[in-house]
C-alpha cells in the first residue's frame, strides 16, 4: 500500500484520486443525512433527528462548558469536523471497501494489480492537512475578530517582564505552525497505519474493532483540539 492516494483518472488536469472519490461519497452521505433530518424536522423528533440532536447536544454543552458565550461560533466548527472526519474514518469498514481494484492508465504505472477504487479519505495527507489549515486559520480569524488586532499581536509580541514575554510569544508562534503538522499527521498517521494493520492482519476482528474505535477517537480528538485552540485563542491575552 502506497502512502500517496492512487490516481484513478484526471479531469482537465485535476487528478481524481480514490480518496477524492470517497470524499465525494461521504459528502453525498452527509448531505442526504442533513436533508432527511431537515425535511422530517419536528418538535417530536424521529430516530435520526434524535441521534443527531444527542450528538449536537453533547458537543454544544461540552463547548459551552469550556468556551462559555463563544459557543455560538465555535461549536459549528467542532461538530462539522467531528461529523466529516468520523464518516470518512468509518466508511473504510464497509466490507470489501478496499478490495475493489481499478485499472487505468494512471493506476497501471507501477501497479500491475491496479489501485483500490476506494480508500479512506483521512488516510490522504491532502485532506488532513486541509482540515488542519482550516482549523488553525479559523482559530486565528476568530482570535482577531473577538479579541482585537492589538490583543492578537500582543499574544505573540510583547515586551512585558523584561522581554521574557517576547520569548514566550515566539515559542507560542512556533507552536501555532506546529499545529498544522500535529493536526494533520496525527489523523493521517492513525488512519493510514490502521489501514496497513488491517491489511496485514487480514481484517482480524479484534484489529477491526480496535481500528473502528481509533476512527471514532481520532474524530473526537480533532474536534476537541479545535475547540480547545479556538477557545484559548479567543481569550483576551494578559
Amino acid at each position: 500500500m502506497q502512502i500517496s492516494p492512487g490516481v484513478l483518472f484526471t479531469i482537465a488536469g485535476f487528478p481524481v484520486t480514490n480518496t477524492v472519490l470517497v470524499t465525494l461519497i461521504v459528502d453525498i452521505i452527509i448531505v442526504l443525512m442533513v436533508f432527511s433530518v431537515y425535511k422530517a424536522m419536528s418538535l417530536r423528533p424521529g430516530r435520526l433527528q434524535n441521534a443527531v440532536e444527542s450528538v449536537m447536544g453533547y458537543f454544544y454543552s461540552a463547548t459551552k462548558d469550556i468556551a462559555g458565550d463563544r459557543v455560538s461560533f465555535i461549536y459549528p466548527w467542532v461538530l462539522s469536523f467531528f461529523i466529516f472526519i468520523i464518516f470518512n474514518n468509518l466508511i473504510e469498514f464497509i466490507p470489501g471497501f478496499e478490495s475493489i481494484r481499478f485499472f487505468s492508465q494512471h493506476a497501471a504505472e507501477g501497479h500491475e494489480h491496479g489501485v483500490p477504487l476506494f480508500r479512506a479519505a483521512t488516510s490522504d495527507l491532502n485532506l488532513t492537512l486541509a482540515l488542519a489549515v482550516i482549523s488553525v486559520i479559523m482559530s486565528h480569524f476568530y482570535s482577531i475578530k473577538y479579541t482585537g488586532i492589538k490583543s492578537y499581536i500582543g499574544r505573540f509580541f510583547s515586551l512585558k517582564m523584561f522581554g521574557l514575554f517576547l520569548l514566550v510569544g515566539m515559542i507560542e508562534l512556533i507552536s501555532e505552525f506546529v499545529k498544522f503538522i500535529s493536526f494533520s499527521f496525527r489523523l493521517f498517521g492513525n488512519i493510514f497505519a490502521g489501514d496497513i494493520a488491517l491489511g496485514v492482519t487480514q481484517y482480524f476482528f479484534v484489529m477491526f474493532a480496535f481500528e473502528m474505535f481509533v476512527g471514532v477517537i481520532q474524530a473526537f480528538v480533532f474536534a476537541m483540539l479545535t475547540m480547545a485552540f479556538m477557545t484559548v485563542l479567543t481569550e483576551k491575552s494578559h
Binding site: D27, I30, Y38, W77, A121, A130, L131
Partner: protein, 174 residues
C-alpha cells in the same frame, strides 16, 4: 522537500479541493442542520418551559379556588348558624307568644264558662225555687183539703207560700 511531498502525494489542487469541499460541507451542515435544529430545540425548550409555567399557574389557581371554596363554605356555615340561631329565637318567641295567648284564651274561656255556669246555676235555682213553691203550694193545698174552708185554705196556702218564697228557698239556694 519535493521528494517528501511526492511520497505523501501532496498536491496543491487536491489540497485546495479538500479545503473547498470541507467548507461547503460545513456550510451545508450549519445552514441546514445546526441552525434549524437549534431553533427547534429552543422552540421545544420554550414550549416545555411554558407548559411547566402553565401547570404551575394552574396549580396556584387550583389552590386559590380551593381556598376560595373553603372561605365560601365557612361563610355559608356561619350564615347558616346565625340563621339557625335567629330562627330558634323567633321560634321560641312565637312559641312563648302562642303559649301566652293560649293561656289567656283558656283563662278567658274558663272565666266565661264559670260565669255562664254560675248564671245557669242561678237560673236553675230560680226555676227549681219556683217549681218548689208551686209543688209546695199544691202539696199544702192537697194537705189542707177538708180541714179548712176554701177561703181559709187559700189564705193559709198563700201565707205558707209567701213564707217559703221569702226565707227558706233563698237559704237553701245558697
Amino acid at each position: 522537500m519535493e521528494e517528501i511531498l511526492n511520497i505523501f502525494g501532496l498536491e496543491t489542487s487536491l489540497f485546495l479541493f479538500q479545503v473547498i469541499n470541507f467548507l461547503i460541507v460545513a456550510f451545508i451542515l450549519k445552514k441546514f442542520l445546526y441552525n434549524p435544529l437549534m431553533k427547534k430545540l429552543d422552540e421545544r425548550k420554550n414550549k416545555i418551559e411554558k407548559g411547566l409555567k402553565d401547570a404551575e399557574d394552574a396549580g396556584i389557581a387550583l389552590e386559590n379556588a380551593a381556598q376560595e371554596r373553603q372561605k365560601i363554605l365557612a361563610g355559608a356555615k356561619a350564615d347558616a348558624d346565625a340563621f339557625a340561631v335567629s330562627a330558634k329565637a323567633a321560634l321560641d318567641e312565637t312559641k312563648e307568644k302562642f303559649t301566652a295567648d293560649a293561656k289567656n284564651r283558656s283563662q278567658q274561656i274558663i272565666e266565661e264558662a264559670k260565669q255562664k255556669a254560675s248564671a245557669e246555676f242561678e237560673n236553675m235555682n230560680k226555676q227549681i225555687g219556683a217549681m218548689s213553691v208551686e209543688i209546695a203550694g199544691k202539696v199544702i193545698s192537697k194537705t189542707l183539703e177538708g180541714l179548712f174552708t176554701e177561703d181559709e185554705k187559700q189564705k193559709v196556702t198563700a201565707r205558707a207560700l209567701e213564707k217559703i218564697k221569702k226565707g227558706d228557698y233563698e237559704k237553701s239556694a245558697n
